[in-house]
């Protein structure tokens, strides 16, 4: 019974982590899919969202006002970056894109360190969402984490509506499958790119802002999430928002549950000391093994189009 409760708890934590990964991955996979553009600086936008949130929440004294301002600011940052750097790189080889966005990552993360210092920051949780609710029996779960899951699901639903039910979404899908044709039909493709990019930046910033009361805000947070986001996108299939959603939940749950239950399950087949050691070593590698397994089965990811 206690085991089942622990499992439920970790499942929820994994889902919450997965939802955050999805918010970051959604923007990145759209940019990949539509513009064939690889952006290593995407994780920095997540970090920037958290820092801006910390700054605005402190300045205004309100979580909600801070969140609103942080969203607007990351959107603006996305627009400026697209205008200043990214649009010069769309027609370049992947290698140039990798290097230029790597340079941006160095510049932005060092800039964050200069502006806010290397010490981690904290954001106060809003009054409305603090506390916890009963889940099953003696088990309680924090309201804020439930709010993250709800906000992420609502965003996913909104994205699905935007992509499948609106004119902008139709152009987006058309642009992903045949860019020159859409341009030839008179659509301003560069403005479309700019909007997609800014939207992706805002989603990443949103994820960063959401997570800031739960995690401490530090300069390394962007790097960690970027790599995980890559794993998510590769598993889900480049360019597929549906794939990003499935991949994100899969990675979030496997990673969270694996870290807690890996050593416990290993104890069933080997002695406790060896199981603890092996569990510690294997758990962080689990999602990469998952990725390798998915790829050897489907080289284009779960929902990817064959190239």
């Amino acid at each position: 019974m206690r085991m089942a409760n622990l499992f439920l708890l970790q499942l929820l934590n994994g889902a919450q982590f997965g939802i955050l990964l999805f918010l970051v991955a959604a923007g990145l996979t759209l940019v990949f899919g539509i513009m064939d553009f690889i952006n290593l600086a995407h994780g920095v936008l997540y970090m920037l969202g958290a820092y801006l949130m910390a700054m605005f929440a402190l300045a205004t004294g309100s979580f909600w006002l801070g969140l609103l301002l942080a969203l607007g600011a990351t959107l603006a940052v996305g627009l400026v970056l697209e205008w200043a750097v990214f649009r010069r790189l769309y027609d370049r080889p992947h290698l140039d894109q990798v290097l230029a966005t790597f340079a941006l990552l160095l510049i932005l993360s060092e800039g964050v360190k200069i502006l806010w210092g290397s010490a981690p920051l904290n954001v106060a949780m809003p009054e409305l969402l603090s506390g916890s609710v009963p889940l099953a029996g003696p088990l309680r779960y924090p309201v804020y984490r439930i709010a993250i899951i709800a906000a992420g699901l609502a965003t996913a639903l909104g994205l699905w509506w935007l992509i499948t039910r609106t004119r902008a979404g139709m152009l987006l899908r058309a642009g992903a499958s045949n860019r020159p044709m859409v341009a030839a039909l008179g659509v301003d493709i560069s403005r479309l790119f700019m909007l997609v990019f800014a939207l992706g930046a805002m989603l990443a910033g949103f994820a960063g802002a959401l997570v800031s009361p739960v995690l401490s805000v530090d300069p390394g947070m962007g790097d960690q999430i970027l790599i995980l986001t890559f794993v998510v996108i590769v598993i889900g299939g480049v360019g597929s928002v549906k794939g990003a959603f499935a991949g994100a939940l899969l990675v979030g749950i496997v990673d969270t549950v694996g870290r807690i239950f890996g050593p416990i399950w290993l104890k069933l087949v080997m002695d406790p000391a060896a199981a603890a050691q092996a569990g510690r070593v294997l758990a962080p590698m689990l999602i990469y093994l998952l990725m390798a397994a998915v790829l050897s089965w489907r080289p284009n990811g779960l929902f990817g189009r064959p190239s």
């Binding site: 750097v85 790597f102 060092e110 794993v231 790829l295």
Partner: protein, 314 residues
């Protein structure tokens, strides 16, 4: 064609003159920096084989640097201090990792390949982070440098530098022969057009995998030397930003030329030392320079030199 080996030989000879120069001006730190440059030049050369000649953008190459470094720590822990044996162990481990991860990664192309090599690099990184027997996150310091023929010659910085330089010359010579041999021609052919190579009866996958394994093994040798230079081993050697720096070296020197890979490593390490001397926020300046080079001089420094000096190279 003949300009490149001349440039490479000139570079090696210039580097060989560093220790006497350092002794003359009384700055032994110069030799230490030159050693670092030579170590990273080996790593950059190895990456150039797959990235420059095979167009395989690997973003996890630092993993091999780390495998080589940990080979030193593991061997030393078990009483094996001979440099040559440690190199063989590091290269062997790298060959196994490259063969397995390469076989999976090479099934994919383009953006997928970049992300998968990155993910495998991170996998290796996290493996060593959680390996508490060797210090985990903090790494472990080495009791002494490796021995050569049973003697502790490498404790002398100048002697160590010449050993590293000899390894660099060997790596350059070997790779130069390899890319001009049939193997290299086929590799370049797959870079230009996979379809045509298939049509005339080659299997690109085999050549790519072989190049991937060779590249990893050479990089592991650089890792063995790096661990000896710093007398310290930590997962930081295989951080993904390090893989990025290796690609930056190739870009700065000009991708797909072995002499350029060496020059790029020299410039990058030099630039890092210079900027780090000015400010702890040196990455900001480094990023700005890199961004400027990518946006305005995609052929790297070699391209810049070529543009400024027309007619210098045929």
């Amino acid at each position: 064609m003949s300009a490149a080996p001349k440039a490479a030989i000139a570079l090696l000879v210039l580097m060989a003159l560093v220790p006497p120069l350092a002794a003359a001006i009384g700055d032994p730190f110069l030799t230490v920096i030159a050693t670092r440059m030579a170590v990273f030049a080996i790593a950059a050369l190895s990456l150039d084989l797959i990235l420059g000649y095979g167009a395989l953008v690997s973003f996890g190459h630092a993993a091999y640097l780390g495998l080589g470094a940990y080979a030193v720590a593991v061997c030393a822990r078990h009483g094996i201090t001979d440099l040559v044996v440690q190199m063989a162990a590091g290269a062997g481990a790298a060959a196994v990792f490259a063969a397995v991860s390469g076989a999976i990664s090479l099934r994919t192309r383009g953006i997928y390949f970049i992300m998968i090599t990155l993910a495998f690099g991170q996998m290796a990184y996290f493996f060593f982070v959680s390996l508490s027997a060797y210090g985990g996150d903090d790494g472990t310091s080495l009791a002494a440098r490796s021995t050569l023929l049973g003697r502790d010659w490498l404790e002398n910085d100048t002697a160590f530098f010449y050993v590293v330089l000899a390894c660099l010359a060997l790596a350059y010579g070997g790779l130069h022969r390899l890319v001009h041999a049939r193997f290299g021609r086929v590799l370049i052919g797959t870079r230009e057009s996979e379809l045509r190579m298939r049509a005339i009866g080659y299997r690109p996958f085999r050549y790519r995998l072989a190049a991937y394994v060779i590249s990893g093994m050479i990089c592991a040798v650089a890792g063995v030397l790096l661990a000896n230079q710093t007398e310290y081993v930590s997962p930081a050697y295989m951080a993904w930003t390090r893989s990025g720096e290796l690609i930056v070296m190739l870009l700065l020197g000009g991708i797909g030329t072995l002499a350029g890979a060496m020059a790029g490593a020299l410039v990058t390490v030099g630039l890092e030392e210079l900027l780090a001397g000015w400010s702890e926020h040196w990455r900001l300046g480094f990023g700005l320079i890199l961004l400027a080079v990518v946006l305005w001089s995609p052929a790297g420094l070699a391209g810049l030199v070529r543009r400024l000096l027309p007619g210098d190279r045929a």
